[in-house]
Structures are given as C-alpha cells and as structure tokens.
C-alpha cells in the first residue's frame, strides 16, 4: 500500500541533500560542542549551586579571572594596533622579503605554544637576551603580568593580521584618492574613509585575538611565574583544581569562564553586526531592502513619509488616481532608466562668467 505523501517542491541547491547536510551539522555540533559543554555544566551540580558559587568567589579565583580577562582584553587591543600596522605594511608597501614576513605572521599558529612560552621566557628572564637590557631600566617582564601580556600578544597577532589583510586589499587606493581629490587630509581620509570601511574586520580580529588570549595556557604558564593571586590565569587555576581532584570546583570555574567569554564574544559580534545594520537602517527609512521594482513600488514613495500600508494600493481606485499613476511613472523612470535628463543647474555650480 502506498501512503500518499505530500510532495515537497524541491529547489535546486548547490549542496545536495538538505536533510543530510543539516543532519551532519547538528550531529557535529552535538558531539563536539554541545555534549562536552553540557557535561561541564552538569558537573558543578554535584557540589550544588552555592558550593559552586563559593568556588568561583574565592579571592584566588577572582584574581585569576581579573588577570585572564583583563590581560586578554589589553593584549587584543595591542594586537589591533600592531596587527593593523603589520597588515597595512603587508598590503600596501612593496619591499623585499615581504613574502617571508607574510609567512612568518602565521608561525604563532603552528608553533606548539609550550615552545613559544619557553622561547619567550628565555628571552625575557633577567639574564636573557632581551631581559638583560630591561632589568637595569627596572622593567620586569618574565614572571610578571607583563610576561602574560607578551605571550598573549604573540599568539593573538596572526588573527588580527589575517582578518584585516583581505579587507585592506579590497579597500584599495581609489577611495583614498577620491577623498584626497575632495580635499581631505591624510588623517581625515584615514578616520572617515579607511577606518570605517575596515572597522568590522578590526572588531572580528579583536574578538578572535581576545578569545585566543583568554584560552591560552601552554605558553603563559612558562612565562607567568604562576603566583596565585598575581600571575595565575584561569586555565591554570582549573588545571590546579583538577590536580587536587576538585572536579566540581574546576568545572564551576570553567562554566563561569565559558559564560563570561560567551557574553563578551556575543557582544563583539553584535557590535559588528550593528555596524552594518546602522548603515542599513538609515536607508530603510527611505527604501525597502529589496531591489525588486514591483515590491519597491508597493512600499510607496521613497522619502519615507508613507508607510507601506498607507500607500499600498488597496483597491483599483487608488491605483487609478492620477497622482498615483504619476508617481508610479516617475518611480519607474527613476528605477529603470539610466538616461536622466539634466535639470536646472544649481546656482553654486553656474559659471560666473559666460563662455567666450
């Protein structure tokens, strides 16, 4: 017996099998992300809500949170400036060995973080190559918070560079030349034209570098000195708790870190999205997003004084009014025609003296 199934009209898609693709996506998300995270959330329940909260609110873990989030934020800020400079140089300036520098940018990705940590520590300890010059100046980097910052900057930099590079390449010089021809100074061009265009990429790079710095463990534990309350980062604190078989406490701190990171990253993403939306919002008051002529016509006049409901033709009467017809024709011409006829020349553009 055949069961009559409702026929679903299938659209052609590039990736075959919507069901299969969606299934794999959900399975992946479940196995790799949701289940482990759920476990992390369930674990603290063993010791109860209050105990978990107490584990987070100890002075030691609060200090660790401060160190981790504060320094990751600061490192991301530094990375934005460094990365912007580096990406700018790589995109804009022709110099010998550029390709090698370009390749070096990715090294922190590939290098085992422990190796990076040991190398940075060796350089920056008071007897190290760099450290020996800093010590007389009273600057202490290794085994201090500055050391953590250095490690975070080191591993976060590629994220900013790689987010900015493609956008800078696309930006091109044309917009800058236009700005200059309109009388803009170099700094006006940078602040008003270049920076706003690349701003979303900067935010993305910032978010990535921040997340990377926050999660970094390998290199920091070598350079930080790990003094509880001063140079101890959250990931290390979790490791310490695990070594003391305080699973639930470790999980509680883990969850807190997870939530905090999520909130911050979500905020960054929203900021990024709003950047474009605020741009689109202004245009929405005038015109629907749609480029479709008919839908545009239904939305009414473009100056935003008519809501769609007001100007949408409810009956044939409305459509027959001369005003509507005229507006329709005008709109149609404006939307479809690229052959405008010159109109009255504004007074400020009129030539002061007639042509000889």
């Amino acid at each position: 017996m055949k069961i009559p199934l409702p026929r679903i009209k299938r659209q052609h898609r590039v990736i075959p099998g919507f069901g299969l693709a969606m299934g794999i996506t959900l399975l992946w998300l479940g196995l790799i992300v949701i289940i482990p995270l759920a476990l992390l959330v369930i674990k603290p329940w063993e010791i109860g809500w209050q105990q978990s909260f107490a584990a987070i609110m100890t002075p030691r873990s609060l200090a660790a949170f401060k160190v981790s989030f504060g320094l990751a934020m600061l490192a991301a800020v530094i990375n934005v400036f460094l990365g912007l400079l580096l990406a700018w140089v790589l995109v804009r300036i022709d110099m010998p060995g550029k390709k090698i520098i370009d390749a070096c940018v990715d090294l922190p990705f590939a290098l085992p973080t422990a190796v990076a940590g040991i190398a940075l520590t060796a350089l920056l300890v008071p007897q190290g190559w760099v450290g020996q010059f800093l010590t007389p100046l009273g600057i202490k980097i290794a085994y201090s918070q500055s050391g953590i910052l250095v490690a975070m900057v080191f591993i976060g930099l590629p994220f900013v560079v790689r987010s900015l590079q493609p956008v800078l390449e696309e930006l091109g010089r044309m917009e800058e030349e236009v700005a200059a021809s309109l009388g803009a100074t170099a700094s006006q061009t940078f602040w008003r034209v270049s920076l706003p265009t690349i701003f979303p990429a900067i935010i993305t790079g910032f978010g990535l570098a921040f997340a990377r710095g926050l999660s970094e463990y390998g290199s920091i534990i070598f350079i930080a000195g790990n003094i509880p309350g001063r140079t101890e980062i959250v990931p290390l604190l979790i490791a310490v708790k695990l070594q003391q078989f305080d699973m639930a406490g470790a999980a509680a701190i883990g969850v807190a870190m997870l939530l905090l990171s999520f909130v911050i990253l979500y905020a960054i993403n929203q900021l990024n999205r709003n950047w474009w939306r605020s741009a689109a919002r202004e245009s929405k008051s005038g015109v629907s997003e749609s480029h479709d002529l008919t839908s545009f016509l239904l939305v009414g006049s473009g100056d935003g004084q008519h809501s769609p409901a007001e100007s949408a033709p409810q009956s044939s009467d409305t459509m027959a009014t001369p005003a509507y017809q005229q507006r329709l024709a005008e709109r149609q011409r404006e939307m479809t025609s690229d052959s405008p006829t010159p109109r009255k020349v504004p007074r400020f553009l009129r030539q002061k003296e007639p042509r000889p």
Binding site: M174, E175, E177, V178, A179, A180, S181, L182, G183, A184, T185, Q188, R192, V193, P196, T197, F199, A279, A280, E282, S283, S285, G286, V287, E289, H291, S301, G302, D303, G304, R331, E334, S337, D338, S339, P340, T341, P342, R343, K344, V345, P346, F348, L349, Q351, R355, P356
Partner: protein
C-alpha cells in the same frame, strides 16, 4: 578654466607612461583622451589631477602653475571608472563628504550642505535615493552619485577616468549623452578618458588620440575621422586597412590587386606624398582605405573571394580574400602595418574588410564564396 600641460613626462621604472606631452583644454571645452590601454591616457589624467607627480614638465590651470600643488588643493573633480563611492556612507553622505571635511571657516552650515546635496541629487536625478547605500544602486546610478560628489565641492575642472567603462552598452550610451548635455549646462572644462572611439566622437568637442605615451593627434571628431594624420589614428577610429600600391612602368602608383576609382587616381596623381615617394624610389606606398570606401562587384573571374560575411545592423561586413596571382602575396602581406591588437590572430592570407549596405549587397548578389572584384573609391596617404 583653461588647462595647459607642457612637456609633461612620467616614467614608471623603465616604462614611459607619458612622454613629453603638451596639450591645452580651452575654457568650457569637453576633451576626450582616446587611446588603447597602456597608451598613457589615464596617467596623463592623473597627472593633471595631481594624483600622480610628473618627472618633468608642468601643469597649468588658467595661468597658475599647479605642478607642485597637492591634489587636495587643486580643486579638481575626479571620477573613477569604478566609482570609488564610500561604502559605509549613504548617497547623501557621500555627496556631502567634500563639504563636511572643510575646515570650520570654509565649511557651509549644515542646512546649506543639505540644501546643496538636494540640488545635486536633483541635478543627477536621484532625488529619492539619497538615503540609500552604494550597494543598493545600479552601476549607472553609482556613477551619477560619484559625479554629484565631485561637483559638490565646486571643482574648477572635471576629470573623468573611463566613467562609463564598467557599465552596460545601453546605459553607457544614455549616460554619455546625458553627460554631454550636463556639460553644456555646466560649461565646466572637462577631460574624459576613454578607449571607446564611439564614446569619444559622440561626447567630445575635441578628441586627443594617444598611443605609446604620446599624443598623436588632437582635433575635432569630424577632422580626426576624415583627416587623420597618422595610420594609427586612422585605424583606431574605425575599420579600415592599408592597400599597398606599386609604382608602375607608366609612372603611376597603382594597386596590382584591385582597381582604383577615378577619384583616387586623380588624388594620387596630384599628391605631393606620392610624387615624393616616386622620386625617393620607394618600392611601395600604402593607401589607407576605410572599409566602406571599397566597391565590390560579383565577377566570376574576380581576383577576390568573400570568405566571411556578418550582419552588423544596417550594413554587412565582408571579409574578402585574395585568390588571384598568388606569387607576391607573401611580400605584400608581410609589409602590412602591424595589427592594432598584437594578440589577435592574423589572417593567413591577404584579406580586406569591406562594409556594404544590405541593399547593395543584395543587388550585386553577394554572398559567402562569391568571387568579386574590388575597387577603391577613396583613400588617404600619410606622410612618412
């Protein structure tokens, strides 16, 4: 405002982009810089704008030497082929940009700025699209915004670099005519760079043909088409080809392969150039003939055969191939002036392009494979 360029040169490494060029654009004139890509026309425009610094020579605006003046202070309106609109700004903000960045003393008030933007939107007929973003506009609309933005700061001159190059053929044509009318209203000295000869002819008061970093000819469209001063200009402005002439025993320059009309023969007998070539003992003289200056008759004993025909609207473009005495084709073919596009495939034998009206072609019973005779109705000689 008059724009004068004197002995301007610009090299990029070893490549001469602009080589000792001098040019004057009269007040209120619309000048088209025409040439193939790499001919230096865009560089010349950028030098005039101040976006590029010359190695030598000077740029003069109305008697004032602006060669060392920064682009910011030259007060030029520059429009790029790819618009260069600021993506994060609305149309209104784009147009207002040049006014908003002025320092406080020169900056118009907010209401003045918005009034001027409205006037400009009206001028380029985008009144209702002021709140849109560039990615919500068509190519033609974008270019009109770019133009309005350039006009907002009251430029002394207007420079357009292939303004319609990225647009569809239809839009291009409309916008070109619109620009011409706008120019007539504004009377702003304008220089347009283009590689499209139709565009240059239709748009400009004067066409400046450039090739290999130099100006070859600068003249009105009619003059540049009818009296080109160089084979390059001849070839660049329309279909045409060189017919090699040999000096015959009777003391005339004649083509061994096709007939010459009476007008052409009279011209050759009068021509100073032809006399000089004969006196110098030249082996060959090139007569430059436009594709519509040939006459073609069906003839079963003709030396030519139609090997290709394509309808180009009102007329038909034929490609006719020499099939007569094969003996000296090689020598003549090799002496043909080099093709305009070195990459284009060269015909393997002596061929000419001939344009005939459809009626004419039908009357004469011409079709693919027909044997024909060719007659040159008129043509041009160029000084050596």
């Amino acid at each position: 405002m008059t724009i004068t360029v004197e002995n301007l040169s610009r090299n990029f490494r070893n490549f001469k982009a602009v080589d000792n060029v001098s040019l004057t654009a009269e007040k209120g004139e619309l000048l088209a810089l025409l040439g193939p890509s790499g001919s230096g026309k865009t560089t010349l425009l950028r030098l005039i704008a101040g976006l590029e610094q010359p190695d030598s020579g000077s740029v003069i605006f109305e008697g004032e030497d602006v060669t060392r003046l920064d682009v910011r202070h030259r007060q030029v309106g520059f429009v790029f082929q790819h618009y260069g609109l600021f993506r994060h700004m609305t149309v209104t903000e784009n147009i207002a940009f040049g006014l908003r960045i002025k320092n406080r003393r020169e900056r118009p008030s907010k209401s003045q700025i918005s009034e001027r933007v409205q006037e400009l939107l009206h001028l380029v007929q985008l009144d209702r699209l002021g709140q849109r973003h560039p990615d919500q506009l068509s190519g033609g609309q974008k270019q009109r915004v770019a133009l309005a933005r350039a006009l907002a700061v009251e430029p002394r001159i207007l420079l357009l670099d292939e303004p319609f190059g990225a647009l569809d053929a239809g839009v291009r044509k409309d916008l070109r005519r619109w620009l011409r009318r706008l120019h007539d209203d504004l009377q702003l000295t304008t220089i347009v760079v283009t590689h499209d000869q139709d565009e240059a002819m239709e748009l400009a008061d004067r066409v400046v043909v450039m090739n290999r970093a130099k100006i070859i000819q600068a003249a009105t469209p009619a003059k540049i088409y009818d009296q080109p001063n160089d084979p390059f200009v001849f070839r660049f402005l329309g279909a045409g080809s060189a017919v090699p002439l040999l000096f015959n025993t009777l003391g005339h320059w004649r083509s061994p392969k096709m007939a010459l009309g009476g007008e052409v023969m009279a011209m050759l007998d009068r021509s100073e150039r032809a006399r000089q070539a004969a006196e110098a003992g030249d082996q060959q003289l090139d007569l430059f003939v436009r594709s519509h200056q040939f006459e073609m008759m069906a003839d079963s004993k003709g030396d030519w055969r139609i090997r290709f025909a394509a309808l180009t609207g009102r007329s038909i473009r034929f490609e006719v191939q020499y099939i007569g005495n094969i003996g000296n084709i090689g020598s003549i073919a090799s002496q043909e002036p080099p093709s305009l596009n070195p990459g284009a495939p060269t015909p393997d034998a002596l061929t000419y392009e001939v344009d005939l009206s459809r009626e004419e072609a039908e009357e004469n019973g011409l079709s693919l494979g027909t044997r024909v005779t060719l007659t040159v109705k008129s043509g041009l000689l160029f000084p050596r």
